[in-house]
Subunit: 181 residues, 4 copies
Amino acid sequence: MTTTVQETELRYPIGKFDFDAPIREADYPKFIAAIAETPGALRSAVAGLARDQLETRYRPGGWTVKQLVHHVPDSHMNAYTRFKLALTEDEPTIKPYDEAAWAELPDSRKVPIEVSLDLLDALHLRWVALLRSMDEADFNRGLRHPEHPRVLTLKQILALYAWHGRHHVAHITSLRKREGW
Amino acid sequence: MTTTVQETELRYPIGKFDFDAPIREADYPKFIAAIAETPGALRSAVAGLARDQLETRYRPGGWTVKQLVHHVPDSHMNAYTRFKLALTEDEPTIKPYDEAAWAELPDSRKVPIEVSLDLLDALHLRWVALLRSMDEADFNRGLRHPEHPRVLTLKQILALYAWHGRHHVAHITSLRKREGW
Amino acid sequence: MTTTVQETELRYPIGKFDFDAPIREADYPKFIAAIAETPGALRSAVAGLARDQLETRYRPGGWTVKQLVHHVPDSHMNAYTRFKLALTEDEPTIKPYDEAAWAELPDSRKVPIEVSLDLLDALHLRWVALLRSMDEADFNRGLRHPEHPRVLTLKQILALYAWHGRHHVAHITSLRKREGW
Amino acid sequence: MTTTVQETELRYPIGKFDFDAPIREADYPKFIAAIAETPGALRSAVAGLARDQLETRYRPGGWTVKQLVHHVPDSHMNAYTRFKLALTEDEPTIKPYDEAAWAELPDSRKVPIEVSLDLLDALHLRWVALLRSMDEADFNRGLRHPEHPRVLTLKQILALYAWHGRHHVAHITSLRKREGW
């Protein structure tokens, strides 16, 4: 149905992430570049939005722009932590978190988005420095997610978060395009 | 000569600023948006560059990428100051500065670019809040530059700095394109 | 022995944290204030240090000042995560991390300390907003640490991190005092 | 009268700046250290203040805490600019600004204080790098202020701003002490 197609497009403006896509060593630099560019891209995506625009849901039933902005560093702090865990332990089982419940906690409503933009800037500078120091053996290290049957490699996590930043930036840029903001 | 054309393109990748172009009230929002987007655009433009890439001149005889990054907040601090002077005094004569000499001062060589990216983020948040509070009468207020024969209006300064941020971002993005970085 | 006393003083300049000290509701504001003040206190503690001073160990066999600065946001990102886990799940078992191994990862050596100071500023603004929204029932929520026999309450974690920030700031300020920096 | 004494104490909690005090080369490091410590000290001074506390005047008829916080980077951007002007021109005449009128402009009311704290962090990192690169001849360079009869040297400006940061931090810390915040 048309509705479903539209819903999928609103929810996945750059498409879904494919965990089964092969990842070659030659792809790492472009994934790292995408992670490096995310904080600037998110900052530009929300630049100049007024208070009521920040409180707008990017799709019916979805998060507000403000919640999206606060979600990104929450998610990427967990991602950065997972890289460090996998680099310092043997296939550690990581602790998932309930992203929907986190996005409803009071700090996501009360704190200005500028704080999370700054958090993301600083976090990605450390993360990218770490990523750029990693060799092929490092990217093949693994971690276990309690809800995934197989070990996930850091190169998969790398590709996932290159996608993840763009995914949420596109939520905001496509909303602004639709709304003419 | 071809060389001259190339030189002009390297130096003015988005064209020169035209002080005589008419500026209508309906244009203000897009100029303000351009100023709001500059810090994120600059941050993404330099994302992931290595130390020696930052030390590369964006054109023969031009500034290094690092000098460019430090120049932008130096220039925009002066611009922000000029807006506040013109809003609180009657056609004040502003103090120009020697941008070439400033770019050679030691802080532009010693300080990590992240510091100037942060400076620009914060400065533009204050500047954009100020711009968004201004009405047509405010944008018609003027200032005198000792080297310009005529009074400059704040709407001209607005258009100038909307151009200025994009101008320097394009120096870096076109360098990266040419170099395949 | 004198040596041991000195070693303990160098390692614990404000004393060890006491997990068994009673914590009353009236104490929360002062603990939250200590967490709020930590980023500014750390920033002032390292202000103006030169590169070789940042590479100095705060005690024989201990971390360098630079490693200390990068450790604080690593630790507090984990702490913030634990608060959110305990607020959104019932007595979750958190994932510990190997802080000694993390401090040897390349980002702690390569990234300027300013990045971690910025990270800490932004992180604590979100954390303090969360803490200020919590009521007594929230502070009595618990989490499980795989290496602790008993459930830890969030009020204990609150007291722990009020201490933790001061503890590491004191490492740096006492080093500067001893060295006359 | 008692009132006057109190007023002076409220207005000048660390005393007035003395332009005639002699400044020796041996004093520069402590002045530079004071400037380096200011952003952290200001950040800690306002840490955890609630919205209505930020709107409180630090003394009857004085600025609110929020206006104070926004004033400091406004003032220090001008100071940094003056250093650069005096280092790149011969005894330039600088452009004063109307600090009272600036503090009433809309950005000082609308922008969260965190933005100005970030601005100050970044600005002082560049300023301190510049100050640490200066030799005795540089500190003896001068500038002209239209309202001062004599040339001011950069060592006097250095001492002035070492005092200025502490002066405004003390406005806030003494208010908190009096109010028991």
